[in-house]
Subunit: 335 residues, 3 copies
């Protein structure tokens, strides 16, 4: 620890002591860590900065206030639901029962109209995501495989698919369901500046925010806890953006970060979070990042046929495959 790191460290340990004493503060602490866990960080400060980035997006454009509020509500509700469901207390305290609910809470107001019924459903779905989190955790127990953001993906997909049959939940911004047909050639990004903004938007899209400044704040939030992770997330965003462009993907979609947000999570997940960091895991993480781009396109086609977004399923599938294939998983897994 360097000298100029001392102040936040003592503030952090002060907060940890406080949170240990009051149940309500413990809940808040778990929720803040849950916000951090979206990007693998068990750190309340990361969670706070993520929230700042969400608010920036709501203020400066790229998302709405309802999304930021939904994220907070989803996080608090899903964390609270973990208590009566008797989740493992250590996991709960580390925020592992909140990050899927946060994403459910951000996702639903992104795609559905902001009616009172939507808010009611958001609360129910956030609590439901905790059930899914515990179910997946049990299912993967023996294999020491993390559930990642799959509970968020499954819960949100179910809600959005159901909305098509429920006029009480008007759809605001879902891609219309359509049969696959090959797109025509997609142009490119005009400048290095446009490329950097596309990559930063990719980082922000993890939280449904379409804003490069928010992306930079999310990277900062990562760096607070781990500079390696921040570097790998930035690498994932840049590599996926470049890769998608090289294969002719629609430049407009790439510019909004929609080809890279899953890779933003895969690169650190394989490169330094779940495997012991080192040259082998870095190379393996780079391969997983490219694989994620293929799965991103595949999921977009599959989900597009059904009229729903890909969400972070490409990250989930790729990371599960690459973790399972890794010899020695369970002995050197980080989380």
């Amino acid at each position: 620890m360097t000298g100029n790191g001392a102040a936040p460290v003592s503030a952090a340990s002060g907060w940890a002591r406080l949170a240990g004493r009051h149940p309500l503060l413990a809940w808040l602490d778990a929720a803040l860590r849950g916000s951090g866990q979206v990007i693998f960080m068990d750190n309340p400060l990361t969670g706070l900065l993520n929230f700042v980035a969400l608010c920036w997006g709501a203020f400066a454009g790229g998302t709405t206030l309802a999304v930021a509020i939904g994220a907070v509500v989803g996080n608090l509700v899903s964390t609270a639901a973990a208590y009566p469901l008797r989740a493992d207390r250590a996991a709960l305290r580390r925020g592992l029962c909140g990050f899927n609910g946060l994403l459910v809470g951000a996702g639903i107001p992104t795609f559905l109209a902001h009616t009172p019924l939507m808010w009611l459903l958001l609360v129910f779905a956030a609590a439901g995501s905790t059930v899914v989190t515990l179910a997946i955790g049990r299912w993967f127990d023996a294999r020491k495989l993390p559930g990642l953001t799959f509970p968020f993906v499954l819960t949100t997909w179910l809600v959005l698919l159901a909305a098509y049959r429920l006029p009480g939940l008007p759809i605001a911004a879902l891609p219309p369901a359509e049969l696959a047909s090959q797109a025509s050639a997609g142009g490119g990004l005009a400048s290095i500046d446009a490329f950097i903004r596309a990559a930063l938007r990719g980082v922000a899209q993890v939280f449904f925010v379409d804003n490069p400044v928010s992306g930079a704040i999310f990277l900062l939030a990562l760096a607070v806890e781990s500079r390696w992770c921040a570097a790998l997330a930035a690498f994932g965003a840049a590599a996926a953006t470049a890769c998608a462009l090289a294969m002719g993907a629609d430049a407009n979609v790439v510019a909004h970060g929609l080809w890279s947000y899953s890779a933003v999570l895969t690169a650190p997940a394989i490169g330094c979070v779940f495997l012991k960091p080192g040259p082998r895991s870095l190379l393996y993480g780079a391969a997983a990042t490219l694989f994620t781009v293929i799965v991103q396109g595949a999921t977009a086609t599959f989900a597009g046929t059904l009229g729903i977004p890909a969400l972070t399923f490409p990250f989930v599938l790729t990371t599960w495959l690459f973790l399972l294939a890794w010899r020695g998983l369970g002995t050197d897994a980080g989380q």
Copy 2:
């Protein structure tokens, strides 16, 4: 046991003694219990009453004689197939190898035209459902998770999807495959009477019967073995019907019980069959019932894109998730 319960009890034990002596009667007993197991009851009288309800539907409208015959054939064939497949004898005797075949046998004539080839396929598919039942049983072994009606869902989906490519199996009544688009507002049910009939039809739709009287007989069949289960099934039907209406679902579809039949199974499954009954399991079962309504809409959209019905997949998925998430599953599971 009250005094007026003595006669059926002694009749039941007489039947059990008889069934223990003759292999053919043992097979019949297993099939009757298989009929009961569709609604979780290891009771031949429940099975008999279920058959009465099916016949009533065929006689009074709401289903056809072919569906009732298909159910009996499917039940007998799938139970018989369990012997050469060397299924666990205790499970076989309790009817656990027959209820999926019964549903396959009821489902195929509901959706395909009644040709000789259809009947041949029905026999083959019913036997196939026993293979799927044993496969799922093995797969879930270590987790003490029940296969529920998934073998029925998978087998029937495979047959119906295949029929699209097989003109020798003319489709009689499948929803045309269509891309998802949000329905417009759906009206409501005119009266409390219409509501009750919708809920009772939901109970009957578990067996593909669209008739409220049949629904009442199915509830009676449940009550023969467990009044709790009957009450929870009725609750599931009513809650799902109300919930679907509140979210604007098409009132015509709701009136035929097609938004509630899965919840009819989820509510007792979570509330009193697979978890130890009590206030916690009841609350949990109520949450699972609401969750089932969302999954019902989602599955209808997904399956509708492929041109197939949702069947009881919403019940299966929800019950698996809620059972897996329950801390202590395997120590207090009922079945």
Copy 3:
């Protein structure tokens, strides 16, 4: 061993000795065995003959040279990728890390245009199929269930679905995505000769080759190691062809072997490879063969909605179900 088998046997053991000494030859040997493992044979001569059949198809029509080259490249790359991924050495030597890559390498040039980017992607996807192979292997570990060709199916599906969004990978020959609608009656095959050619094409279609002579060579390649397997593969092809015709499938599709290629694999898999051969396994294999035909139609409808081919998923799903349902799997499994 009969007298006239002595020469190939000593040649084979000479080759095995040679392969044991040089790493490069060990790699070639593993790749040849990988080619044989597509049809379950741990035999380099089978692998060589399979390659001859592929070349015959490229020369005489029924496939292209690019498919034959892609198969070789995919096989070599995926086998090579197994070394740094630290695959189990025994499995690697038996070719179990190469057969999925071979099929990925044959499949991609069958469906996508032959551009430099396609070749780059082919190499990456072949290596990716090794990751999927190891992941599935780990996942199925405890159940002693083989991964079969699922890694090939998943990897190829992902690449093809992604191609719809990537104009840099022009689609050459994918079925257009379309909603299911029942086909009209399909005619029949004109003669017994046409029937035999359809069945032989079914054998060849396992390797994406639409040529009856190649089918005969693939059967010969099987017979080199196991006449039982060759007979069962031929039975699977004939039974599935007859069965599809009896149910009214489009005769033109049947004539190209597209209703039978999965059954070509299921019949030997259940009949003699993974279960102890005997009258029970043969009967069971026959049932599995018919089941495969239903799954073939179902997968074609499902995948057709998404604009992708069924590949060998029907074989994979059926074989998994029938193996899991078999009492005693793991004690008498062959592989």
